[in-house]
Symmetry: D2
């Protein structure tokens, strides 16, 4: 992390956005934010026009769909390298983003999960699915979590199905006291293989986020996942 960057955060008041802003402020790399409500000392604005006026070196998009598509495409169109921590991009939207990023000579990076452990869990699950005919997923989160099953478990299931042709069942447990845990269990003749990820604090994704922000300035076109950097 040689060079200091000025990073704008879209979705600045969300759970991830709040953590990202705090880490960027601590690292002296926070530029400004975008949200539904403005907040003056934190330089959070409600329109893209205001955001661009801050001249961010990188956009970190932590919004949700359909806003993400619009905001990130606009950033890339203006020649701003963009890291996107939002799922739900269609193949057509990805192709459009890739074409625009290549045209403007900048990078765009979609990261389904900023945690190194979660990234490896998904990659290993995809690989194991080529060897094992059966898999099931157990994910445990706090009862306050809004989505059920979790986005990570759905993405893991999608990759297992792509590799093996058969979709695993997802079991969602919601327990007070838990943080973010996922287990993928593969069964074959006489053996079980289990890949488990426990995310125990925000540090697990802050490190990946900062890595992504610093890597995207050296990329051209669209890349997918922490593993590509």
């Amino acid at each position: 992390m040689s060079q200091k960057l000025q990073v704008a955060v879209a979705g600045a008041h969300g759970r991830m956005g709040t953590v990202a802003r705090q880490a960027l402020v601590e690292g002296g790399e926070y530029c400004c934010g975008l949200s539904h409500t403005a907040e003056s000392p934190s330089r959070i604005f409600t329109t893209l026009d205001e955001l661009w006026r801050c001249s961010p070196a990188v956009l970190l998009d932590l919004t949700t769909q359909p806003g993400s598509y619009e905001i990130s495409l606009a950033a890339v169109k203006r020649g701003i390298p963009t890291v996107i921590g939002v799922s739900g991009w269609t193949d057509e939207q990805r192709a459009e983003l890739d074409a625009m990023a290549k045209e403007r000579g900048v990078g765009a990076l979609i990261v389904p999960n900023f945690s190194v452990g979660a990234m490896l869990m998904m990659r290993f699950a995809q690989e194991a699915a080529r060897f094992f005919g059966e898999a099931e997923i157990v994910e445990i989160h706090h009862p306050a979590k809004k989505d059920k099953p979790s986005g990570t478990s759905r993405e893991t299931a999608r990759r297992i199905e792509a590799a093996s042709g058969s979709a695993p069942a997802i079991h969602s447990l919601r327990l007070t006291g838990s943080l973010a845990h996922q287990e993928v269990i593969f069964g074959g003749p006489g053996e079980l293989l289990t890949i488990r990820h426990d995310s125990l604090s925000r540090e697990s994704f802050v490190a990946g986020m900062m890595k992504a922000v610093h890597a995207v300035v050296r990329l051209r076109g669209l890349s997918i996942g922490l593993e590509s950097i």
Copy 2:
């Protein structure tokens, strides 16, 4: 296990019955069996009358309901101490069995699970439910297993509900390569407590079965569970 007993096995051709007969034969304690089809060298009969003619010292009932109620009550009525490895006895049936066993001066012992580990898992789960407001059960078995969720998981859930007033969700995983596994996870402020049982071979319940058979001859009336002996 001082004294050698002559034990009759009802449900002699079932999965449990087959294991029980083999263990009893090895220990020189097999008397005869009851099943839907007779098998002459193994002394398996199709009627209770034939079974009684062998004069068993103990009956080991490994059938299913509604047969279990009928067979075990008949045994106790004849003054034969009876170990019952079958679930689904109603409170009325239990009371009737208890009264009959007391009248005849013999013991009857209902054992929901012959494995010491499974017994402790259920007891600990019941105890923990008094302290934790939330629980979920994950049970993993071979895809060939007929019931889903497993009997042990349903019994565990019943006990947790009795202790805490709220029934836990049961998640059933069916994976080739697995044997018999169950995890009960309790959640509370800032912590998780997990009780896990792995049953990895038939030895886990054969030992409990033999213990029950030798204990029931010293009991009077109805007792429940391995923990009572």
Copy 3:
């Protein structure tokens, strides 16, 4: 937690003491503290005399030995109900504390672990040790943890040895990213029984601490463990 109490914290600058003070301040029940260095706005003193001048209703002793023995005995002698979160009390010291508490008509409560889950893990391990001949303990903590093996694992091992006559091996793993985790695995013919505790935030022991503080005012003589209240 009806009545508000004025609680003094000994060991006020330690890891546990800091957490306790914060929780007590939030609940409006913080009186004053004792430590090696004074801190005026937090009312932390360096001598017992200053502490008594605050007239605390309860003393929460979170120091270490040999200080704990001295401080808690002095409090009880003054008729102040005392909760002691410090291990290493000998049988003689306990007897002395019990006698003094009875004489003064107040309660003393030694709590080896304020977390309900840890308490149950130890109790279940002790109970399971009566049925299983073999056990091993795996404890996982952050590399910054000072003691190795952890105090909880040593206390668990002590109880297993008391129940079964044989001391389990303790395996200590130190991994960045972990918080406080312990697994006790029992082995018997054909089966494994595992009891696992994951302590994922300070809430897990704050709740037990507050419960102990409010319970001790209704006790007489010495009691041991959260399970006694």
Copy 4:
């Protein structure tokens, strides 16, 4: 597994050799065996000369060092494709075997572990070690197991050290009731990644063994691991 092969087993009376012979006999592919004591109905001989007289199509070497080096090299020299389930081959010995196999135009295949799950566990551990700075290994086996730590855990540790520069600690648990279990736990900022393998019956390595035997006839020179076929 189209074509039936005639397979000779070296180490025919060992634990693995016994399982291999049984599976080969069942599949109609057993040729003969080599061991320290002859056994006539099973066609087990004590000298290589006798073994060659059976004209095996493939040799399956399940001996130990230093015998494995000698026996497998002799087989390859005679133009017999050889599967080697023995660890402890030095780099020089591997090079010599490779050269000989190429000269004779046959395949040699060293397989450290015939289980697909164990192979993937080791491969994933090696990959994860590139991303995580810390790892520890916990392996659980039956008390009757002779080596401690297990060969698989030592091989896993070797690969983690090769990838990360730092050797993980290995914790060996020996518990009645367990079969063969291994867990590799990686720690990083705010997260843990765990890879676990449970080998619950001999089927887990029989399948890999048969696959290897049928694959080696199509190979040339030395290959390493199930993943190469």
